[in-house]
Structures are given as C-alpha cells and as structure tokens.
C-alpha cells in the first residue's frame, strides 16, 4: 500500500469516526437535555395516593392456613396478568414458602410447630437500599421518590444481573413468552402483560396507587395486610409496628426491606 493512499484512508477513517461520534454526542445531549416534546404538561393524578416511603406490614398471625393467602395471590396475579408457568422457569410476584426459607437466619431446630409449619408470603421488599437497582446497567429498574422499586420493561435488556443481585429471590425472568400461559383475553385487559426476555416483579401496585386505590393484595386481605407511609408516625403501618413485634427478611444485609412481618 503506498503512503499517500494510506494517509488518505487514515484521514477518511478518522474524520468518519470524529463525525459519527460528534453526531452521537449531539444526539446524546439533545436527548439528555430533555427538551419536552409534548406541548402540554405533566402532573400527578388528583386522586393519587402519595407517601414519603411506602411500606407494608403483613400480620401473619391472622392468616391460619396457606388457603388464607389464596385471595391475595389471586388478586395480585389477576390484576397484573401474571402467568402460571409450570416448572422452575416460572414467574412469581406474590407467593408462599416455609419459615426456614423466608427467614433462614431466624431458624432454630426447636422453633414451635406452628411457626415451622406455617407458610409465609413473599414479595419484592422494595428496599431502601436495593442491590437490584445498584447493579442494573440500564436503569431499567430504579427507586422512585416514594420508595417503590419499579421496573421499566421497555428498557430491560434481560441481563438478569438484578436477579443475581436480589438477596430475596423477588425477581422473575420471562424465559418463555408469558402470553402462552395466559388466557385470551388476558385476565385484566386494562393492564399490559410482559414480553419474553425481560425481568419482572411486584410493583407495590404503583399503577393502582396513582388511581387512589390500595395495592391489590392489601385490598384482598381485608385489613390483615397494612400499607402506608413509613415516614408518617400516624400511619397504620407505623402504628402497627409500634404496637407489635415485627421482623424483616435478611436485615443483616443492610438493604432495609420495606415489607414487615408481624409474627
């Protein structure tokens, strides 16, 4: 290759690179500056329930058998079109397990039979210091101002780092197309399903709070599950926590779960 042609190619290559990166950065700043596209404005709904830090208190003493939780699970899964997929590539938003699985650090060999045999509900803890948010490479999962750890399925690349990061096993990955396991029409046509290849989990019913409704499981529990603002000393959750002994899952990890269990 002779020198002039080589230097020409170098110049061409460099300028192509400079041009494209320049364009990219321009596009980037335009996007980042966030000039609003819509001519109108955005606001909260008038009926929306708000809090500084949403939290849940589950009074497990009032649930006497796994069947007592059925209504809660069904409400949750129906409202959010959560499919029932057999096998271990399944999706779980709200589910049950034994004490030694839910609170492994609090287990002892002689714990009373009632506690040992009971089933306890599990869901996303909406941690104050969520490892899943820390590890997500695209901010597809993020913590909102009111403490809810939310998911943007549009942005999720399906790397499953959040599933490795979550110490509570609260996240599920869509290994298969969830629609194959849902009825047609879906149980709740007002709510989307998820697509193949993204991670999903409990959302503390952010979409219901925005309409002034309590989360589906709370509503279905008939007062046995409380939901409210942890920062407000007069809220039902604070009062319940002040009056009763409560535990959380794996508190030693410093994630500060937002789901409390009265045992």
């Amino acid at each position: 290759m002779n020198t002039s042609r080589r230097s020409f190619l170098k110049v061409v290559g460099l300028s192509a690179f400079a041009l494209s990166s320049g364009m990219a950065s321009l596009a980037g700043t335009a996007g980042a500056a966030g000039a609003q596209i819509a001519p109108g404005r955005y606001e909260r709904g008038a009926k929306a329930l708000t809090a500084k830090r949403w939290a849940m208190v589950i009074d497990t003493r009032q649930f006497h058998s796994p069947e007592d939780y059925e209504a809660l699970i069904e409400a949750c899964h129906k409202v959010h079109n959560v499919p029932h997929i057999p096998g271990n590539q399944n999706i779980k938003w709200f589910w049950l397990d034994k004490y030694d699985r839910v609170f492994p650090d609090d287990m002892n060999a002689h714990i009373n039979t009632k506690t040992r045999q009971a089933e306890y509900p599990l869901l996303c803890n909406h941690c104050s210091n969520p490892p899943c948010v820390r590890v997500c490479p695209t901010q597809a999962t993020y913590k909102m101002e009111d403490g809810i750890v939310a998911m943007d399925y549009h942005r999720c690349i399906g790397c499953r780092f959040c599933m490795a990061g979550c110490p509570y096993g609260a996240r599920s990955f869509n290994f298969v197309d969830p629609r194959k396991y849902l009825s047609d029409p879906v149980p709740n046509p007002a709510f989307p399903t998820r697509m193949i290849g993204v991670v999903e989990k409990c959302t503390f019913c952010a979409e219901r709070l925005a309409e002034g409704k309590m989360p589906a499981c709370v509503e279905a529990s008939g007062g046995k599950v409380l939901f409210g603002d942890l920062e407000d000393p007069n809220s039902t959750v604070r009062q319940a926590l002040a009056a009763n002994y409560s535990i959380r899952r794996k508190p030693n990890l410093g994630t500060q779960p937002g789901v409390y269990y009265l045992i």
Binding site: P104, C136, R155, I157, C166
Partner: protein, 388 residues
C-alpha cells in the same frame, strides 16, 4: 498483511470450512433461542445465570492473561518473549470477542443491548465491564497490528504505541478485576461475597491463559514449524507454576475462612460443590473432585524443574486448564446459585441447546484466532522470525 489469509495448505481451508459449519449449525440453535427465549436453556428462576456467563468469566481471564507475556517483555525487557508476544495479543482479541458474544447470547433482549450506552449507569459494574472489554479489544487490535506490521517491515514499532502497551498492561488487570466485581459486590450470595475474588480470578487467569497459549503454540509448532523458543517456553511455564500455586493457595484460603468460621452460608456452597446435597453427590461434584485431582497432579508435574521441561509438560498444562475451567467455568456459577437465596437448593444443568450455542461461540473464537494467527505466522515466516 491481510493477503496472508489467502495462502495456505488445504488443511487450513478445511479447518476454516469446518469452523464455519459449526458456527452455522450452532447459529441455528441460537435462532431457536431468539425465537423461543432462554427457556431452551437449563437456567431457571433461582439459577438465573448459567453456562454462558461462566464461559464469559473464564474467557475474560484468558484475555487478561496476555499480560503475562507483555509485562515481562516491555517492563523487564525480557527479549525472549518478543517472538511469541503477538500470539498472546491476538489470543486476547479472540477471547474478548468470545466474551462479548457470550454476553450477547445470554441477554433476553439482545436487540436492546445498546441501552447500556444509551443510558450509562456508573453505579453498575456491568457498565464498567462493557467499557474495559471494548477498550481492551481496541488496545490489543491496535498494538498487535502495529507491532506486527513493524516486524514485517523490519523496523522498530512507532513510538506512540509504547504508551498504549503500558496502558494495556494495567488494562488487562482491570478487565478481570471488574469481572470479579460483578460477583464480589453482591450481598447475599455467600460463595461470591469475598474480597479475594478478584485476586483469585487473576491468579487463575495467569496460569490458565498462558497454559492455553502454550498448548496452542505446541500445536502450531507441529503444524507449521514455528518455534516459540526453548527459553521462552521455560520462562512461561515457570510463570504458570507460580500463578497456579497462588491460585490453589487462594482457594484454600476460601476453604479456611468458610470452615473455620463455621458460618453455614459460607460453608454451604463448598459443601454442595464437593459433596452434593442430602447425601447425594451432585453431577458437578464429580467435576469438582476431578478438578482437585488434576490441579494437584499438574502441580506435581510442573513444580520439579526437570519434569516441567520434559515431555510431560503438555499433559500437565491440559490438566491445569481443565482444572481451572471446572473451577471458574462450572463451580463458580453453580456454587453461587444452586444453594439459593432461600437457603435451599435448585439444581442446574446446561441443556444440549445451551451447550450448542456455547460451542458456536467457541467456534467463532477459534475462527478469529485462526485468522489472526495465520496473519502473524505469515509475517513471522516472511521476516524469518520463525525459529532460532
């Protein structure tokens, strides 16, 4: 230099054709995965990473290991490595390509993968991993190509490449450190939550990577007559022994901390890996014990100098590579996930399709490596740097 690709014996073309066939066949399996999702793999809700990510981890190590040639050659002016350094750099290129592909095949939504750059997230280790891998790939392509061209023209490499070489040395450490941080910073995964993870990764990389390089160079010597040089082989195998000793030592440190502290969560993964669960050995247990035997057997051959230089060297290297692959390519992920976050056990076994996709990535790596090494060998032959 690209013209070197187009001349070669028949066996060279047959080899390329074979690789292309493997890539095409495995590519079809990947299309199936794209269509039907990662449900075709053995991964599940509790074991959410599997063979793909473990292979990614292993090959980041292989990529980083090029530094074991670059560092002595450029920091200590050890001239004997100069002849084979290009093979280390080009192997790093192939390894990084494989790493990138293993990440892509692991994604649930690969068409969105540029979201990592579109929404840069400095608190995610994955973000840095992307940066260091892309950077390392570029560095090795540039350095390898420029130095090889200088060799072809029989001139000194241009001065501007020196700082890049020094940078690549630091960069090599960074790629494997960041990969370790993917694991070591996660709360609640007992097997991974250890400060020595990055050091263990590096030591295992610095023995297994050069071992793979030496084995491949022995093959090349037989096929083409290219001789890396007796002293170079001897020095590199000494480096391999030291790194392997440190690697085994670091694993023993893990075992000490887990079993002397007697913290159940920390003992559980190792107990599972070596003794299975509920009185039954897991399939991975056989592999782990094989790894232990091969690790010590390789050390037994490699530590005495007269054996290390003898005909047993390739056997020792093969055992060393197998042992480190089992430790990092199987044990790391299975030990981290199978004792799950509910302190229960979820077994994992890669499916045939999953293994096929992984083999496809291996074949791409082999193709990249073959082409790059073909160029390097062509230049070496022309420049009469083929043997002493």
């Amino acid at each position: 230099m690209l013209e070197k690709l187009f001349t070669g014996p028949k066996s060279y073309y047959v080899w390329l054709l074979f690789l292309l066939c493997v890539i095409a066949g495995c590519g079809l399996v990947y299309l199936d995965q794209l269509q039907n999702g990662l449900g075709i793999t053995g991964m599940n809700r509790d074991v959410s990473w599997g063979l793909y990510i473990s292979q990614f981890t292993y090959f980041v190590g292989v990529a980083a290991s090029a530094v074991m040639l670059v560092l002595p050659a450029y920091f200590h002016h050890y001239k004997k490595f100069k002849r084979m350094i290009i093979f280390g750099e080009f192997m790093a290129v192939a390894a990084v390509v494989m790493c990138a592909l293993f990440i892509v095949v692991d994604l649930g939504q690969p068409q969105r993968m540029l979201n990592v750059m579109l929404h840069p997230t400095p608190n995610s280790v994955m973000f840095y991993d992307m940066i260091v891998l892309v950077g390392y790939l570029c560095l090795n392509i540039i350095i390898g190509w420029v130095t090889l061209e200088a060799e072809r023209l029989d001139v000194e490499p241009p001065k501007w490449v020196k700082p890049l070489i020094y940078l690549s040395v630091l960069w090599a450490f960074s790629i494997h450190t960041v990969t370790a941080f993917l694991y070591a910073g996660i709360p609640g995964r007992h097997y991974w939550l250890t400060a020595i993870m990055a050091a263990r990764f590096l030591s295992s990389a610095f023995c297994s990577g050069p071992a793979i390089l030496l084995l491949l160079l022995f093959l090349v010597r037989r096929l083409t007559g290219f001789d890396p040089g007796r002293d170079a082989i001897r020095t590199l195998s000494t480096i391999i022994v030291y790194a392997m000793c440190v690697n085994v030592f670091f694993y023993l440190l893990e075992i000490f901390t887990a079993f002397y502290s007697q913290i159940p969560g920390h003992m559980e993964p190792m107990l599972f890996l070596f003794s299975g669960h509920g009185g039954h050995l897991a399939w991975v247990s056989y592999w782990m014990w094989a790894a232990v035997i091969m690790a010590f057997a390789s050390l037994a051959i490699l530590i005495p100098p007269q054996w290390r230089t003898g005909p047993l060297l390739p056997l020792a290297l093969i055992m060393l590579v197998a042992a480190s692959w089992i430790d990092k390519g199987l044990g790391l992920l299975i030990g981290g996930f199978t004792p799950n976050m509910f302190e229960a056990f979820t077994p994992y076994m890669p499916t045939g399709k999953e293994i096929a996709v992984a083999l496809g990535v291996y074949a791409v790596g082999a193709l990249v490596l073959s082409l790059l090494w073909k160029i390097a060998l062509g230049v070496k032959r022309e420049a009469r740097h083929f043997s002493d």
